[in-house]
Symmetry: C2
Subunit: 223 residues, 2 copies
DNA sequence: AATCTAATTATGTCTATACATAATATTAAT
DNA sequence: ATTAATATTATGTATAGACATAATTAGATT
């Protein structure tokens, strides 16, 4: 059926036969056709509605699945040596400014961390992180001297919802300093917010050297 | 079962009961448990291996599903008026330089387009696009004076594989000119390559004004 | 003609059962 | 002790059948 879509036999917008007929055609059970069509629908190639039937998606803008890797993996995969420095660690109580970014109520205890990730000794990523201690109380027992908060969180705390913002920006003075940027060099910024069952978990701002950082997403689609 | 994972009853790395036992627990058929677990696995919350069993994912780095919207939608959604200008249109034959970006053999006919997308009359996105006429022959019949190639492709040509690259860059002279960038202003660049059944379809470079463009991804996860 | 009601229909989900497959665990042979 | 052959096991997939649900269509009523 994928071949019939890619081969334009079933063109975008076309209504395709119903499950029962397809099961006949292919000599299999309706449940099997249903499973196959569900996967194509999940992949965004078709759109299905009860009674109305199934049609080939007109807007094939299926979205890209971005795998944001751990910095360490990313650096080691490129054959370089990973380095990590904890720049700052403090516990604070959220004020109105912070609550905007972390989405917690005033007076919630928050762990604030600043770290630098290095590739072969060169600055690679500057991490500014806030962790909601209300949602992740045991984070206060970790010193984060050896392991970065990202790595720890990923191993210890699941999440159910996430928001990512990607942007190109002129660096702040701090970023220029820490990442040792050349003049006119932009930063590539990833901001991530996660929630565990609607409870804010963490907010992080990851800054990268513009000229050398590329975020890649390869979608092979369809199992 | 999702609740047991988010509630930490089943912690990251834990082996969870097998399908048969879970079916007993929940008083349903194994097929139903299998379906549910398959969805959790698709969402990246658990990892499954035959015989070895199912365990809660240790690396919850589940990836973000990026919906890259049509420029027009994006602009109109923000309440601004969409504008479109075709800057250039030509048919050319691929040389070695182009084949690197579009991944086609030498001497393949290629349609090259340059367009500018505007929000309330202000430059918003500069589009440089190459279309493989071997894969999309009827593209040569479209003049693209009124509708942008993105919109046309999305409606007419499906794809099975895609690659996206996001980066922050110092603008080229052309980008600085067309997007009317202030000095020191970086560009946010989206590069997209798509294939239809392993045949290259299109390569596009979309440049945006760094200070005003933010790419957002919200993942509610789990149906 | 407009509105409400009932019939129809395609997808959505679940069940019980069967067999396939990959990976581990066990046993036998070297 | 190491290796090869075999058994076991949890997941993976397919099946026929049943019923649920959403949306449309047709029919009845105003």
């Amino acid at each position: 059926m994928l071949a019939r879509i890619t081969g334009q036999e079933w063109a975008p917008g076309d209504l395709i036969p119903n499950e029962e007929d397809l099961a006949q055609d292919y000599g299999c059970a309706r449940a099997t056709v249903n499973r196959a069509l569900r996967e194509l629908a999940d992949a965004g190639l078709i759109e299905r509605r009860r009674k109305a039937g199934t049609r080939v998606a007109r807007r094939a803008t299926r979205g890209a699945l971005l795998q944001i890797p751990l910095v360490r993996m990313e650096i080691e995969a490129s054959g370089r040596r990973y380095g990590y420095v904890l720049l700052h660690r403090s516990t604070l109580v959220s004020d109105s400014g912070l609550s905007g970014r972390l989405d917690v109520a005033r007076d919630t205890p928050v762990l604030f961390l600043r770290c630098l990730h290095l590739a072969d000794g060169e600055p690679y990523q500057l991490e500014n992180r806030w962790i909601n201690l209300d949602a992740v109380p045991n984070a206060s027992d970790v010193n984060f001297e050896e392991t970065g908060p990202n790595e720890w969180l990923v191993a210890e705390v699941p999440y159910t919802r996430a928001e990512h913002i990607f942007s190109a920006a002129t660096p702040t003075g701090d970023e220029r300093d820490r990442l040792r940027l050349r003049p006119d060099e932009p930063v590539f910024v990833i901001e991530r917010r996660t929630w565990l069952a609607d409870k804010p978990v963490t907010y992080v701002r990851l800054s990268h050297i513009g000229s050398s950082y590329r975020m890649v997403s390869r979608d092979d689609e369809i199992a």
